[in-house]
Symmetry: C2
Subunit: 497 residues, 2 copies
């Protein structure tokens, strides 16, 4: 957390994200064990990150991370001999109490809830005096990133800052290094203006103005970009922020930002290769034994409030109640992986998921049929096997930046899979035409869509799945990232650089 004097570094492309492509655990003997992460961001960045000119700046998130970062020169893991898969990773050490408040309290318990519209508004949130200390921690945590980026970036380097954890970094970095080309990318939805204004006025304003210091402010879906523009329009007149909807640009403090959409998709080839490795094949055989010749409905989520698992299970119950013809003929495999168990809302939610799952089996199970199988331990190859085998996929979030599962399943599906998809997932933009789109609050509509999905003609299902797979792979991660860099370059030309 020492403020470095900014110097022009050597990196020409920099990525900043809270979570990096690698993390550490402490082995029984006390030594550090490196783990590689997955996900769209990591796979999108792998090719660029391997070039020596790219630096990936991330936070040390655990004691093991902090030990590894502290032992590496300037936090550069490869300089300490760690194999980061070719990427140049700089892991930032942030004081644990500051990191906790910034990450768990502000980012995940306030900003995540705001953008996903998750608060129990009569009771939460409260913005009181303790909140101010938490907010200050978020400011400090963002500053640590800004200082590190300022020190590492070559003149006019492109810096792409990821997500709601780091919304203030563009403004902080711009003040330190006005020469840089800065992008900010949101992987979440953006709140509707009527929800965004729940935030304290100064906090909501600082977040927007912080992001608007970027040259490009980007989202996964036009609906989130539109919501962002509406929030900018609602800023106090004194800020002098001008929104031009026609060109999707916002001018703040004499600086113009372009607001754009980059709908992250799937690397089809890589996913298909992974989805046919031996570990997946083994689990596929196990699932086939389990399901037999029944239809299979699958859902795969972190147990996250926005994922709407409880209403999804309730829809399955309503399906079985209304359409007894499916009794004994369908199995619902629900993967609900643990998430954020430090928050009581999430523990309560997990308990509600388990309880409803038990109720469904109590109501319908027969000696030869278990209608619902809830799995809460994370097993990636098993998830991929379920993707291949599923007849129906349920993706019914209340609100979701994109939802990559909805894009992965059509790519991996062996025999075609009908998708029941929430209209409030960003993925609906490109998948909506061939999915069965539902209002996520409407349990009955979701049950009806499940029934239609189960009954869908095999030929239609396969044809839809092919179109869904094509749409899902239209912007693979490499392209998604390259588009952002190209946009930063073209934007620089636009404004006279």
């Amino acid at each position: 957390m020492t403020a470095k004097v900014p110097t022009a570094g050597t990196a020409t492309v920099l990525v900043a994200s809270n979570r990096g492509p690698v993390s550490f655990a402490t082995a029984a003997d006390g030594s550090l064990v490196l783990r590689r992460g997955g996900g769209g961001l990591v796979s999108g960045l792998r090719p660029v990150a391997r070039s020596g000119a790219t630096v990936w700046v991330c936070a040390a998130m655990s004691d093991a991370d902090r030990h590894a970062a502290a032992a590496a020169p300037d936090g550069h893991l490869h300089r300490a001999g760690h194999d980061t898969g070719g990427a140049t990773v700089q892991m930032l050490t942030i004081e644990p109490a500051t990191f906790h408040l910034a990450y768990n309290t502000i980012a995940n318990s306030v900003l995540w809830f705001i953008h996903h519209h998750l608060f129990d508004t009569p009771n939460q949130p409260w913005f009181d005096r303790p909140f101010r200390r938490e907010w200050q921690a978020y400011v400090t945590y963002n500053e640590v990133f800004a200082n590190a980026l300022a020190a590492a970036a070559a003149p006019r380097a492109a810096v792409v800052i990821q997500d709601y954890h780091l919304a203030l970094v563009p403004g902080q970095l711009r003040r330190l290094r006005p020469d840089l080309r800065i992008g900010h990318f949101s992987h979440t939805p953006w709140a509707a203006p009527s929800y965004y204004r729940v935030l304290p006025d100064d906090v909501g304003r600082e977040l927007l103005l912080g992001m608007l210091a970027a040259d490009c402010v980007s989202f996964l879906s036009p609906r989130w970009a539109d919501a962002f523009l509406l929030c900018c329009e609602a800023l106090p007149r004194a800020d002098g922020v001008r929104v031009d909807r026609a060109t999707a640009t916002v001018t703040a403090a004499g600086h113009r930002s372009r607001v754009s959409v980059h709908p992250l998709g799937i690397d089809g080839e890589a996913l298909r290769a992974r989805g046919h490795q031996a570990d997946v094949e083994a689990r596929l055989a196990g699932l086939r034994d389990l399901v037999g010749d029944r239809k299979l409905i699958v859902r795969v989520d972190r147990t996250e409030l926005a994922k709407n698992i409880v209403r999804g299970l309730a829809a399955y119950r309503e399906l079985l109640r209304i359409h007894p013809r499916w009794h004994g003929k369908v199995v619902h495999l629900a993967f609900a992986y643990p998430s954020r168990h430090d928050l009581p809302e999430y523990r309560d939610y997990m308990a509600a998921v388990r309880q409803l799952a038990d109720e469904i089996n109590e109501e319908f199970a027969a000696s030869s049929w278990t209608p619902l199988i809830l799995e809460v331990s994370d097993d990636y190859p098993r998830s991929l096997a379920a993707y291949r085998l599923a007849d129906v996929l349920v993706v019914n979030p209340l609100r979701d930046g994109m939802n990559l599962v909805a894009k992965e399943v059509p790519v991996l599906s062996d025999r075609g899979c009908a998708i029941v998809l929430s209209r409030d997932a960003g993925a609906v933009d490109v998948l909506g035409a061939d999915a069965l789109v539902v209002n996520p609050y409407d349990v009955s509509a979701t049950a009806a869509a499940m029934n239609a999905a189960l009954a869908m003609d095999a030929g239609e299902r396969l044809a839809r799945t092919r179109r869904l797979a094509a749409a899902a792979t239209a912007v693979p991660p490499q392209q998604w990232f390259a588009d952002q860099i190209a946009e930063l370059n073209s934007n620089a030309v636009d404004i006279g650089w």
Copy 2:
């Protein structure tokens, strides 16, 4: 619930509201006791209701009401000899189970929550199969009103339908009696489009199209009218609804509705007269003894989730923590009257109010000073006495159609009263310039506004209070109602009648 064959009645002005101007209780001897209601709607209608040509149609809400209504010819209470204060009141008997589902479940637990943005969204609402039965009860309950109005209305009569309980009545009534001039008035906020779409698509659509069958759709604040227009714009294209923002008109099914704003205010003269009656004076003396020469902060609310009482008390706690100079110098009198105790959310909320009140007194009370007095038993003259004595009024709802307390206090205040007012109360439109306006989620900002209100110079406070009183009485209820009738008449001219 018998569907009457519509016949042209004799009433030229009709009012429909769930709750009427009178209600009944059963005395110990089994006889019915009539009670007169209060509030803006009743006082606004008293003058017109006394003319024989006006009929007020309302629901029997209790067993006593149903007995009274059943014993009166066609539900007309005056024909059974009840003294309705000169108004012609027709009380409709609705089958109790239907009424319960329509009123408690749909109107108060779904529509109220939608328009006030009150749901704990990860867990509520659920729209499942039982919901469909509840919704059907709401349709039926609205039909009972539509049938009664159709039978009672003279040709081309003006019918003003009140509130979210009766949103389908304009459409149902239009089909029965195309000749009528129909208005609908919402006393609540209207949901933002991002919240309104939580409703099942067909339900949200039926409610909007039902209201759009009225000639005038009216709200208490431009912000609620704007939200309604935005929801209309979001209707499926197939409905062919056209919204003209410039003229605030909506055309649906060939029928044009005007969307207008009538900001209900206070009858200053009547309120001042009531506020100086002997019962109020007696309570004023009691309050003076209680408060002594301390400053008095007052709040008066039903214990309603949207009223945001808990955060208001938390703000008072933060005031006392940050500004010890007020210790022993201020008393907060919080009137929190019971409301909707049949709903667990409301019971929990009342418990949270009590607990926080206890915590505040435990933290700060001294032998000679009780910092917070929570009163939960309703006592109207005592409320009026508090209005007169208050130095500071706190009105911090999360969302409120208008909030008449914020308008009543300046009218009654003896020595001037500073108002801390939520920016999401409709009253802020006319009171905002002279109130201290706060974000209701921001406990710290509310505490700071309380501090500024307590410290406000007496001269400024009085000058503000006079301006607030003038603004609050600009549209007294009689005028408010007359404006709506005049608008219905002018609208009829507009469209060629």
